[in-house]
């Protein structure tokens, strides 16, 4: 028996050996050794190329839209275009506008910046959109250009509108929400997303001679000298990417995926300004509290802005934001020592552009529910919702219309404002000064303001990470202010901006009357440090999914539901709208981001209407009918077209005050445009004269 087994095994081995031998003979018969090695190498290369291509496949949503509808009143088409493409001086690490237009996808000769690709990464491109002077590259909303004053090169500029324009899709119609929440994934350094694909493309362009040849021919033509110069500058750009990814842009600083439509804005600003710009790597902190881009059609009325309500002044907020979005600035020299005097703070921040956008936003109205697209309003239900809103929501969400504040200012005698880490009395006094009880104040130019309450995080119970990071993260700002002890982001920005903004004004020749205008309605720059979130008014909130500051609740229906009912995970990225529950669809789809609410920073707790004791309980459980009544009301809340049908509406936005006249806004727009060679936006009679 054993012998027979052995002989079987022997025959099988001989048979297998014979096959191997034959295979080897066949292999050697292909050709000489060098040829066979070549075959193997080619095979390996093909497989590797294929794998790399799969690895680098762009992560794109698949959305089909045929037409676009604009939901907000208040802007002419020119003003809208101006908001979309007026530059603010921000850069994508210094990429040239033409480079961006001419890059190809990695391992492909398909252009990168096509409407389909950029829409797939969540940017907004209208169907059939055409280029014009403001947007010669026919790029998505917000991606403009500015001229670098030093080199004269045209750079890609990431404007306000990139993040503060929303779009809802419904059965092929794109509903444009100006001043709304974007869902693009610009900052997300995950595989297949915009920024990683762009970086891969840049490096391949640098090292793949065929790709380089196509790129260089398009950008520089056949001229060898120009091609060489391009190569040098392009390599420098690639080095900048490497440097940035090694520091402020390092993925390890962003452990909670921002995904689609979110960014840890304050965390990133702090890392860029206090880490990257002043070359202090010790100041990098994990920016792990992603927040939705807030909607901004009524923020000019707020007394304090930002999710934690940490500042009050438009210009300081906007300059801080520009720095966070990588507006180049020189604060330290090559050795990392703080620059002195005039050299400090050299930047391409476009102060005119910022003031232009700020002025335009004051005219923008909230979006209106399009009944013909999203469905008719049930007036009886909405009226019931109005009562519920007054009962359960208005206490926090107001708006609490108050008389304009008189902001006490510092002056030569009292150069320090109490409770502020730094004051700049010259800047304070550069506004329009009045006297109250013998003390100087800046009287707010608004007819009235919206006083937005700070709700402590322990009361509201929503994810505390953002407020905690703001309060607890410390940055060493001793390079800016020698001898200062570590500060939080708010105080740090105050230390920097109290110096920087007046210097910018000086360089831009903004003097006299212009200063309180550019500051924003005569408001002096202040910081408030609170472990709290602001409960903002909710006009048009239906058009701004997902909800809560961290985008952790997909629909308003879910926000009105109990903790048990709220989804603990969902997908965000596809902009198809659910007009019943008021949010984007939440199913898994290409390009969408998986929101896992079990991660700190993504928590969906708090703001609870429930019948049990729970942290963040703010009201009793609402039944299904009550929830739908509130949803129905929120669709039209404040919309003057429905006020009469609702039997009056305390939130009617037509009843709110108008912005004070500001001749500097139109001037700012025009001068920013002129500087970039844009002539077709010049004032046309009435339209642009505010």
């Amino acid at each position: 028996m054993l012998n027979r087994l052995r002989s079987w095994a022997g025959s099988i081995a001989r048979w297998a050996g014979g096959i191997l031998h034959a295979a080897w003979k066949l292999w050697t018969s292909i050709g000489p050794r060098w040829f066979r090695v070549l075959c193997v190498l080619v095979l390996v290369a093909v497989v590797a190329w294929h794998e790399a291509k799969v690895f680098l496949t762009p992560n794109l949503t698949q959305e089909t839209i045929y037409s676009v509808r604009y939901l907000n009143d208040g802007w002419t088409p020119e003003e809208r275009q101006s908001f979309y493409y007026t530059p603010q001086g921000t850069e994508l690490l210094g990429i040239d506008y033409q480079w961006f237009l001419n890059l190809e996808l990695p391992l492909s000769d398909e252009p990168l910046a096509t409407a389909e690709n950029l829409r797939g990464w969540g940017f907004i491109v209208a169907p059939g959109q055409r280029p014009d002077q403001l947007n010669p590259g026919n790029l998505p909303v917000g991606l403009g250009r500015h001229v670098d004053p030093k080199t004269g090169k045209e750079r890609l500029d990431i404007g306000c509108a990139t993040c503060h324009t929303g779009e809802l899709h419904y059965k092929g119609t794109a509903l444009r929400v100006d001043g709304g929440q974007a869902v693009q994934s610009m900052a997300n350094a995950k595989r297949g997303e915009f920024i990683t694909t762009l970086a891969a493309s840049v490096f391949e362009t640098l090292y793949n001679p065929f790709k380089w040849d196509r790129f260089a021919t398009r950008v520089a033509g056949a001229d060898e000298a120009r091609r060489d110069e391009l190569k040098k500058r392009f390599a420098g750009f690639a080095d900048t990417i490497k440097h940035f990814v090694g520091g402020a842009g390092s993925p390890k600083n962003y452990p909670v995926e921002e995904g689609r439509g979110r960014v840890d804005a304050v965390g990133r600003i702090a890392n860029v300004v206090f880490g990257y710009d002043i070359d202090e790597p010790g100041n990098y902190h994990p920016a792990d509290a992603p927040a939705s881009y807030p909607f901004i059609w009524d923020i000019w009325r707020f007394n304090w802005v930002q999710y934690t309500g940490f500042t009050n002044q438009a210009m300081a907020r906007n300059v801080g934001e520009s720095l966070g979005v990588l507006a180049p600035i020189k604060l330290v020299d090559a050795e990392g020592k703080a620059l002195k005097g005039k050299d400090f703070g050299e930047t391409v921040i476009d102060v005119d552009g910022l003031h232009c956008a700020e002025g335009l936003l004051r005219m923008l109205k909230p979006p209106q529910w399009p009944e013909d697209v999203l469905g008719e309003i049930d007036i009886a239900r909405a009226t019931a919702g109005k009562q519920l809103f007054a009962q359960h929501c208005q206490g926090c969400h107001g708006p609490h219309v108050k008389p304009p504040p008189e902001w006490p200012v510092a002056d030569q005698q009292n150069p320090q404002i109490e409770g502020q880490i730094s004051s700049n009395w010259q800047w304070d006094m550069a506004g329009e000064i009045s006297e109250v009880d013998g003390k100087p104040v800046r009287r707010d130019w608004r007819a009235d303001i919206w006083s937005i309450p700070w709700i402590p995080t322990e009361h509201i119970g929503t994810d505390p990470k953002l407020a905690d990071n703001f309060m607890d993260n410390r940055y060493d700002a001793s390079k800016l202010v020698p001898g200062s002890s570590p500060v939080n982001a708010g105080d740090g920005l105050q230390l920097l901006l109290n110096t920087l903004v007046p210097m910018l004004y000086e360089r831009w020749d903004i003097t006299g009357d212009a200063i309180p205008n550019y500051d924003g309605l005569n408001v002096p720059f202040r910081i408030a440090n609170k472990r709290a979130y602001k409960s903002r008014p909710l006009h048009g909130v239906w058009a701004t999914p997902p909800f809560l500051h961290n985008g952790s609740v997909p629909t308003i229906y879910d926000l009105l539901s109990t903790q048990e009912e709220r989804p603990r995970s969902f997908y965000v990225g596809n902009r198809e709208y659910d007009p019943q529950r008021l949010g984007y669809v939440t199913g898994k789809s290409p390009g969408s981001f998986f929101h896992d609410a079990s991660i700190l920073g993504n928590h969906n707790t708090g703001h609870l209407f429930t019948d049990v004791d729970a942290p963040g309980r703010i009201g009793p459980r609402l039944d299904e009918a009550q929830r739908y009544a509130l949803l129905e009301y929120l669709k039209v809340m404040g919309n003057p077209a429905f006020t009469e049908a609702l039997g009056g509406d305390a939130q009617d936005w037509a009843a709110y005050s108008q912005p004070p006249a500001d001749e500097w806004n139109a001037k700012a727009c025009n001068s920013s445009h002129l500087r970039h060679g844009i002539t077709d936006m010049l004032p046309k009679g009435e339209e642009m004269s505010l």
């Binding site: 309450p453 109990t562 048990e564 989804p567 049990v612 009793p620 299904e624 009918a625």
Partner: protein
């Protein structure tokens, strides 16, 4: 395992229906022959009536056999052990698709009071830790409209009966009666596997084994399925119930305890609400979604379950003796229903006949009409004090936030 399969065969269907009259089982059950089947308005063949009649006879044989093991007192024959009867609300979703707006689902955002009975499938009362089928039945109250089974009277209720498996291991009443034939002779495997005459039903055996072997952390956790199809308006559907997406199950009860399922639920409901999504799955053309083969799971890829209503279970106490007694007497019947709602398939039709027989029988025997609950009260009163039972915390509106 096969022993379980056998028990389940007994428990899940006919004797399950008998549960309402379980106490009276020692007496001679009503004969289906005495019913005027034509009067029920169902299209039902002679062959099917014969099958039902035979299955009832086998059922009696099995009952007699089971009773010898169980001994007194009499309990329900199926889903004998209730792990809890809970007060709940059943509210129709505001965004329910239009083609589902029939019967209790006719009016979006309409809210009903309901009772929910969680149970273990076995006919024996055994520790919760033992593998078993798990049942969930919902009784929606305050239902308007013409009852679907007039012989049951105007109950004003609609019941949804489910277990935690999506498929049954008998295709239809004929499978069922064949299976019963062997079970009645205490041959547990014979219908699934037999050498002579050659017979092999591996898929049905697999379903049976899986059905009776499930272990769960709490009755609030599993997904429950109707198994059998129903007609809602123009649409044949199956229904299912799944806990809401935000529910957290972190009970720390000792799972070796005899009644740990009740304990886990009591712990969870002490200071937290629970909730379920009630979902419908429509039969769609071009997919294998038979109406009279309960072994086929309808593909969720071809037709996903769509939430159409929500079951809210407020924090509550539910373990009082009075409530447990109420729970024992609660009768869950798929033929309690109103409007355009109809149980489909031969197994459902069998249930209707059996239920009716039992109901008639008990009326005669007990001289006490079976009373359907109308609200959350344990007795048939209009109102009752639930302040000790429902643990909701009253909300006091705070002073408006002062502006800054």
């Amino acid at each position: 395992m096969i022993a379980h399969a056998k028990r389940l065969a007994i428990t899940s269907l006919v004797l399950c229906s008998l549960s309402a009259g379980a106490q009276d089982r020692s007496a001679q059950p009503a004969n289906v022959n005495t019913l005027d089947i034509d009067a029920l308005g169902m299209e039902i063949s002679e062959q099917e009536i014969l099958a039902i009649r035979r299955s009832m006879e086998y059922g009696r044989e099995i009952s007699t056999w089971a009773e010898k093991i169980n001994g007194a007192p009499y309990r329900r024959d199926a889903h004998a052990k209730a792990t809890g009867c809970l007060r709940a609300t059943f509210s129709v979703n505001g965004d329910i698709p239009a083609h589902y707006r029939h019967s209790v689902f006719a009016e979006p955002t309409r809210e009903y009071q309901a009772w929910i009975r969680f149970s273990n499938g076995d006919m024996l009362v055994q520790p919760d830790g033992k593998g078993d089928a798990r049942g969930m039945a919902i009784k929606v109250m305050g239902v308007e409209g013409a009852p679907i089974a007039p012989e049951l009277g105007m109950t004003g209720t609609q019941d949804f009966i489910m277990t935690n498996t999506p498929a049954f291991f008998n295709r239809n009443i004929f499978d069922y009666v064949d299976d019963m034939q062997f079970l009645a002779e205490n041959k547990r495997l014979a219908w699934f596997v037999s050498l002579w005459p050659p017979r092999l039903h591996p898929r049905r055996l697999y379903i049976a084994a899986k059905t009776v072997s499930s272990k769960i952390p709490t009755p609030l956790q599993p997904q429950y399925y109707s198994m059998l199809p129903y007609q809602l308006g123009d649409t044949p559907v199956k229904f299912s119930v799944r806990h809401c997406p935000g529910m957290v199950f972190d009970s720390d009860v000792d799972t070796s305890a005899h009644d740990y399922l009740t304990e886990a639920m009591a712990q969870q409901l002490d200071n937290r609400d629970a909730c379920f999504d009630f979902m419908l799955q429509a039969q769609v053309p071009g997919s294998n979604m038979p109406l009279d083969d309960a072994t086929v799971v309808w593909s969720e890829q071809a037709s996903p379950f769509v939430p159409v209503a929500r079951i809210h279970i407020p924090a509550q106490s539910f373990t009082s003796e009075a409530q447990q007694a109420f729970c024992e007497n609660l009768s869950m019947n798929p033929w309690h229903g109103a409007g355009e709602w109809l149980p489909l398939g031969s197994l459902s039709r069998a249930r209707r006949l059996v239920y009716h027989a039992v109901s008639q029988f008990r009326h005669a025997k007990n001289d006490a009409p079976l009373v359907e609950p109308r609200n959350w009260c344990l007795t048939s009163t209009e109102s009752c004090d639930l302040s000790e039972v429902i643990h909701s915390v009253k909300w006091v509106e705070p002073a408006p936030h002062s502006a800054h």
